[in-house]
Assembly symmetry: C2
Homo-oligomer: 67 residues x 2
């Protein structure tokens, strides 16, 4: 599900920002790997909630259901 | 993330059972698509929780982080 995963180092705070672009999830972390894990965890949780409420779009479902 | 997604129709109850094998998520549904959505939603939520707690295995992380 690594589609458009980007990271950015914030010079001022020294933290990393990771974004799972297609799911609109952005999260900070002290390190780059931690920021990525935070963003992926957040994205998965949000998507799980959307699916449960029947609110996931076809594009979002395709991210996890596609072969 | 469709790796080993299987479904089964239960003759007795008439319900469907879907399993996301690699994440050990099994869920029922009244229809096959609903069972699949239930299982995927459950699997994503469980994986998100595991990542958040730092308990996800490398294999589980590879499911969502692999290119």
């Amino acid at each position: 599900m690594n589609r458009g995963l980007t990271t950015e180092h914030e010079a001022e705070s020294g933290r990393w920002l990771a974004e799972v672009c297609e799911l609109g999830a952005m999260q900070h972390g002290e390190t780059e790997p931690q920021a990525i894990l935070n963003a992926v965890s957040f994205a998965l949780g949000a998507l799980a909630d959307k699916i449960e409420r029947g609110e996931a779009t076809d594009e979002e479902l395709a991210l996890v259901l596609a072969d």
